[in-house]
Symmetry: C2
């Protein structure tokens, strides 16, 4: 019988924000896989560092960060083959995912490649979005409010249109798009309703008014916009 | 010195989907508060049942389910006073929240009432949205996809407009709005792209094609719409 592939959410960064279930699966599974950027350590692997007491078989998937998707697709193809080898031998594999596996996570690329052939189980995790809201102490949405999640790479026009059409928005993957995002939000008169959050739940975490956000933002940063102040009394 | 109010996410239902941090705070805090509907047990309190080994001071906040918000507001006012009494004596209070405290959670009503006077810390949790996606094995969004979270009580017109404008949507608080939601999704030709999920992560969980969803849905149900099939290869 084939092994099971587990897509395991490990939360936004603070190791204490992992769930009991993710922790149990990480501890009890011998093969773990995770993405990493060339030249740096895997963020997902770092989060669980303190929980690894026995050596494991580790599949590090080096993802080239290029606008062209082909090199990354090839890396996932190769990793899917390695993971298949273990699954075919009846061994379970845990794929570590920052945040939640199905919320803008890289696990989706592995899922697409393997779910037709193998049993895949998804263990949800605390997403960066709710973690940012928690650290910023800024509620996302309640009652009949619409919440829109916008990727930072969207065009200026599209960002503006969607931000104008919502009370509450979370802008993900801010990184090098910070200048564009600031300018759109300023034009809409929403600067005072917007916060910038960097590396939520980690020691290096920053929560700033958007107007004070740095010129250069890291990939793991987010902007939260909520037009209403204290709308929940 | 005043105590700290902790808004603690306990996840979508499976006790194993609680985080280490939420569990630590629940175990180490003597006063816990939680909302409950009249005549039924508190869902959030149920989730953590197995972790309570010592008796605690418990503040059950009975929320009347009426369209008129006033009775619920009065219940939160009264609860805020009870919680304040403990905080004033220097005792910490844990407020239990299903899912995540700032993602359509009732904690916001308590937060609004107390954050100006007391230190409030938010512990994020696994939201029902990512839990539903995990259980349905249906990715929410990736890359530059926009994800919209829509409350079920929205008008037919508004639901239709927003569903048409997105690749990926999560409809929360489906409950008695299931018929309206089905009809809108059918009109948009999205029936085959839509799943219905009920009580995600619990033993009674149901994952169905939307077309097979029951006529009467419980409050804890969700509809996920994603127009693309396997968009992540």
């Amino acid at each position: 019988m084939n092994g099971v592939l587990y897509g395991v959410g490990v939360g936004p960064g603070d190791p204490e924000l992992i769930t009991l279930k993710s922790l149990r699966l990480i501890k009890s599974t011998e093969v773990i896989a995770y993405p990493k950027l060339k030249g740096s350590k895997s963020f997902a692997r770092n989060i669980i560092e303190e929980f690894i007491d026995l050596p494991k078989v580790e599949i590090a998937i080096e993802i080239p960060m290029t606008v062209n998707r082909l090199p990354a697709q090839r890396a996932y193809d190769a990793a899917a083959q390695k993971i298949s080898t273990h699954l075919n031998m009846g061994e379970n594999v845990v794929f570590l995912c920052e945040g939640d596996p199905f919320f803008y996570g890289s696990f989706m690329y592995m899922h697409s490649r393997l779910y037709k052939k193998y049993l895949v189980e998804i263990i949800p995790g605390v997403s960066s979005m709710t973690a940012c809201a928690a650290m910023a102490k800024k509620p996302l949405a309640a009652r009949n409010e619409v919440l829109t999640v916008l990727p930072g790479p969207l065009s200026k026009k599209e960002l503006e249109r969607r931000l104008a059409d919502n009370n509450s928005s979370a802008i993900m993957k801010v990184g090098r798009h910070i200048k564009k995002i600031k300018s759109v939000i300023d034009r809409l008169g929403l600067m005072d309703s917007s916060l910038y959050i960097e590396r939520a739940s980690l020691k290096e975490q920053k929560v700033l008014k958007l107007i004070d956000a740095p010129e250069v933002a890291p990939y793991f940063s987010m902007v939260l916009v909520n037009k209403e102040e204290d709308p929940w009394l």
